[in-house]
Point group: C2
Chain length 701, copies 2
């Protein structure tokens, strides 16, 4: 794969524009790092004042840079950026990193300067990372364009793409005693040109990168991000930390769906659709990434715990449960073998507690037995420092066993000084170690989730549902922006996308009532229509289960007679006719437009209490059957569809279809701001959208 971004991670020659011999200037740090990083290409320093720096002669102007040079790092005051960019263009340099600050982040003036610089870059076909960034590094190539304190991190397997330069700097330092390192790392700054989505494929293509990790403050093009990420996760896992939740705030929304669907729900749904794992904390990212980079994947969620003390075993068992993992049910063969190996007071049942007297050989042999047990998918080894010998002895005995197995083993070394050497040995062998069982269990769960994700891939099919796009286009053609769609039109719109509704229609006389009955389908409900009567049942103004045109005609006359007798002064407009809806369950289904990700779908417990109960789940349109199934399974409303106690089972499949159809509708028509069906009545056979509301967007952006 070669494209306009390729030079960023494999330039044949790099120029530092604004290289400086003053140690306090960024241009010094950049020059120092690129020199010391061991970068194998050609290095050029540009400074109009001339002189020498790190064994290189300073070049006076960009035009004078000799070949090869296909990337430039710009460390120049912001006002000089547009002209410097132009000179790069004239020299034929197509990849630039604009390190300097003083642009959009400082206000309107800076924003204008950024815009101007970008225009120049585009004019010359130059790709630009930044401005206001710390650049990038590749520990394998190697290449370091940053000004951070050397040395560059050692070669690693985890790539990191970041919207914050400070986080990059902090993580590089932090990683040094955390047992992992980076393959490629990139700080994107203001993203005037290159965004996280642009750079994703290039980072993923790196052979040394096993896992991609992202620090995101936003996503500029939601649909493209999902598409790119979706391709990558088939090969390599992506873990994202999305921050700025507290800034997202609430949507201005007219429906329950809108009120409940915060922008973070859209990010959750987007990551799920893209197959990206969303971490809650920075530490969690790397707890997971280390396991995903180094360990084989487990075939299931059954974990064997091996410990030399009871307490850690109990904590670990709790942690497995918290992470939806299971204690594996050891085979009789394993139990026997452990029984022969270990002292009588040891517990051979999972968690296997060898007791404090466990030798290094006990650790190794017990682990071997656990890993070969057919009922075990993964092992979790717990090691508070053994009282009578160094922890590293046990670790060294286990390493070949762990490396020989196709099942993952994570090791928890509990302590600090007494387990330091053991930790070093595990890391050298690329075996993830943790200080506490809780964090190791979370990493094991990430491995299991990855296995399940890869298995589910076959369910990732395009939706095949019947929709009448043309009919819907006609219905929406005259819809006024910013308003609610007329009820009848809303019903027709649903029907066009295969969602049956239950319109209420007014019959001014018996004949039209009978006709409406036939139109709507029997049986029907008949209700007296009068602005003066609010409680219709009090005056006998309702007829249920009316089964034929004849019955409707008779019913019409009967209702009129009854009501006139009881309320002679009431104005009677006729009778409302609605199809009789059988018993069933009621749910809510909705869609709301997200500016970044398109239509965000909601499903859950409906009624007036929907916002209080918050029993809802979200997904991004268009939904596959699997997406819709997942939404159902996340809510009580969805689980209940299969029946619960004296609540009868209803047509769950019809809900899946309706969700998919509605998602297709919301996807097809960006001019729809919100749709809400509350309730959607789910029957033994099929569904009925009882109350449908559709709101149009104010202005299509």
């Amino acid at each position: 794969m070669t494209n306009s971004l390729t030079p960023f991670f494999s330039p044949r020659g790099v120029a530092v524009i604004g290289a400086s011999s003053h140690p306090h200037k960024l241009g010094y740090g950049v020059a120092r790092n690129i020199t010391q990083s061991g970068y194998p290409g050609k290095v050029h320093f540009v400074n109009p004042n001339g002189g020498h720096l790190f064994g290189h002669r300073m070049i006076a102007s960009i035009a004078d840079i000799p070949d090869p040079v296909d990337m430039a790092i710009l460390v120049v005051p912001a006002p000089f950026a547009p002209d410097t960019m132009r000179q790069c263009g004239l020299r034929g340099i197509k990849a630039t990193i604009l390190v300097s600050g003083g642009f959009r982040e400082t206000g309107d003036e800076g924003a204008a300067l950024e815009e101007k610089t970008l225009r120049v870059a585009q004019e010359y076909g130059i790709r630009m990372i930044g401005p206001n960034c710390i650049g990038l590094l590749d520990t394998h190539f190697p290449l370091d364009t940053t000004f951070l304190q050397p040395p560059m991190p050692r070669p690693g397997e985890i790539a990191f793409i970041s919207h914050s330069g400070a986080i990059c700097a902090a993580l590089i330092d932090w990683s040094k005693n955390q047992g992992f390192s980076f393959s490629r790392l990139i700080s994107l700054g203001n993203q005037a040109d290159v965004s996280e989505t642009d750079i994703l494929p290039l980072v993923a293509a790196d052979e040394y990168t096993k896992v991609l990790t992202l620090y995101l403050e936003n996503i500029s093009d939601g649909a493209r991000f999902i598409q790119e990420a979706r391709q990558i996760v088939l090969q390599k896992p992506i873990i994202a930390l999305k921050v700025g939740r507290s800034e997202s705030g609430q949507r201005a929304a007219a429906s329950h769906t809108g009120a409940l669907a915060g922008t973070e729900s859209a990010f959750d749904a987007a990551f799920e659709k893209a197959g990206v794992f969303r971490a809650d904390t920075t530490e969690e990212i790397f707890d997971w990434a280390r396991a995903l980079a180094w360990s084989p994947l487990p075939q299931g969620r059954r974990v064997a715990i091996l410990t030399n003390a009871g307490g850690p075993g109990v904590i670990a068992a709790d942690a497995l449960e918290d992470n939806a993992l299971e204690l594996s049910d050891l085979s009789a063969e394993t139990l026997n073998a452990l029984g022969e190996l270990l002292p009588p007071a040891a517990s051979v049942q999972n968690p296997v507690d060898m007791l404090a007297s466990a030798t290094a050989e006990d650790y190794a042999e017990s682990l071997r037995l656990l890993l070969t047990d057919p009922n075990t998918d993964a092992a979790l080894v717990l090691m508070p420092a053994p009282p009578m010998y160094p922890a590293e002895n046990a670790v060294s005995a286990m390493i070949p066993i762990i490396q020989a197995s196709q099942k993952p083993t994570l090791v928890v070394l509990m302590g600090s000084e007494q387990i330091a050497e053991a930790s070093v040995r595990l890391q050298a062998a690329k075996i993830p170690d943790y200080r506490f069982p809780e964090r190791a269990a979370s990493a094991l769960a990430a491995l299991a989730k990855r296995t399940e994700f890869l298995r589910e891939m076959d369910g990732f099919a395009a939706p095949v549902i019947s929709t009448d796009l043309k009919e819907a286009q006609e219905i929406l053609a005259n819809a006024e922006s910013g308003t609610w769609l007329d009820t009848e039109l809303a019903d027709r719109l649903m029907n066009a996308y295969g969602i049956s509704t239950s319109p209420i229609k007014l019959a001014p006389d018996a004949e039209s009532a009978a006709k409406l009955g036939e139109e709507l389908g029997f049986p029907v409900v008949m209700k007296i229509a009068s602005p003066d009567i609010s409680h219709k049942s009090d005056v006998g103004g309702i007829l249920l289960n009316v089964a034929s045109a004849v019955e409707v005609t008779e019913g019409y006359e009967m209702l009129m007679a009854r009501v006139q007798a009881q309320r002679p002064r009431a104005r009677l407009e006729g009778v409302h006719i609605q199809r009789m809806i059988p018993q069933g369950q009621e749910v809510i289904v909705g869609a709301v437009r997200d500016p970044q990700f398109g239509a965000l779908m909601m499903f859950g417990s409906g009624g007036v209490e929907v916002e209080g109960l918050k029993d809802v789940a979200f997904g991004l349109a268009p939904l596959t059957a699997r997406d819709a199934e997942k939404m159902l399974s996340k809510t009580w409303a969805g689980k209940k569809l299969a029946g619960y106690r004296n609540i009868s089972a209803v047509d769950r499949a019809a809900v899946v279809d309706a969700l998919r159809c509605l998602s297709q509708l919301a996807h097809d028509f960006p001019e729809i701001a919100e749709i809400e069906i509350n309730p959607l009545k789910v029957l033994e056979q099929g569904i009925v959208a009882v109350d449908v509301r559709v709101k149009m967007v104010k202005e299509l952006s």
Copy 2:
């Protein structure tokens, strides 16, 4: 405070029974540690083989130990324990730590030996810690009775009481590079005699201990634990990690309440009642404990964030929100002063971003401004290593500011090598530092929670509710164990404790119907009573809102006539009379007996879906008004009582009363296994227990 446990942490003389000169024996480790710990009392080593050890002559027998000696550490093979204990008794030693294993943890034989040893100890009035433990240490006295690798941890402020010795050992090692240390630490082993509850007051009484932390696998006497802890937390916070969740399993239960109230709900409720903070992970314990030990308490939840980069600020703002903390709204004065201090591109709004150019003085002066702002209760300082100078410079500039303020400041040093010295300086100044904003925010929230807890103390009053204990005793006198109480008795039981019910009664004729109507109170509902009619409304068999005795008499005849006309063959037994219950909200209220903590109360959304919705909260009986209020506020069912959209507000106070009365009943009668009111109908005025079920325990243990 002096009692039988006092010698454990301040013995005048200690004997090591089984001291050994073989470096691989535990008796060697114990002798070494007590010698090297700097213990100021008299040390005696007992070994029948004689010789010298660490400058002490070995004493041949316990009888020969000279004064003073008031504590003995026993490191002897299990079979010798009873006799050794007896010799200690004869010598007049009243405090022993039985370090050795080989007791209950190994099976029946060991359990018998443990029992025998305990009986000897009790015979001589000896208190015993262990067996199967690693003993205790006091870093201030100092005293170290363990056999762990020296050196003993440095003097600290956090006490740790543990059911697991291995966790003690691991944490002592781990603490060494975590910036905290222990004051007193104790491993309780099998707790044959001394339990966590016994030792709590002794540990709390230590002047150096600022925070107590607990690792618990169980609690032997729930009521006493709550009582002791409740006293202590008024002075010093307690943080507990309760493990063994995965082992707790489910209750065998007959009611919704029983099914939902897992044993972990009881622990949650117990800790809440005791004022003990429950941590989820080991790391969380000490994240909180460090802040609670070292920082002043904030007056509220308004936090100012100070950073030198945007990314960390965004993460921190998210973390505040996740922990229910708020970004403080800086005063105009502060904003102006920051504006004058910082460069124009800096963000003076909270989170205050000074930019990467921030000097050490900028950090100090900005922090001073934030801490003096009246709208700020606490500060969170974020520091990825400043690019141009060492992080410790900024830290040193801030330390006097932090120490001078009565508001807490937590510092996040992001990185590893570049912030190492800064971390050392903060810890020396007893200022908590963290690596990531998420964990610091969690600690800040613990501080805020502590403030709120201490403020709430005035609400901790004994319940004053009207109950008729004698009437209830009479009702329950003949209740058969293991069965459901007869419906009528259950209703009477509720009435005895001030909970109104709505009994349904059968009237075989019009006269008794009228009488029942007067007895129950008008208006009433009348329903035809017939084993042959299931849908009573279909045959006109229901009369609502019957308002007087005359109407009841007429109604009786009318119902009989109507139903006989429509179903001539149906057997009619008379009419069921029930007080008419007005419109209202429906909730569930229940109680289930927990073996450790007594009656566990439940409140929440009722109906048939209660187990699916899981909108329930728990509390321990007897409930104060505040306890009951808290349970309401945790659930949607409770929030809704105040009204929501078109749902009218109902009598929330009556629910609080009913919960308290029911909790008093469940508390007063241990012979009740489960009570469930589902639904409890909450009216505009008052409540009605519509369906009451009471189950008696099988055997009173």
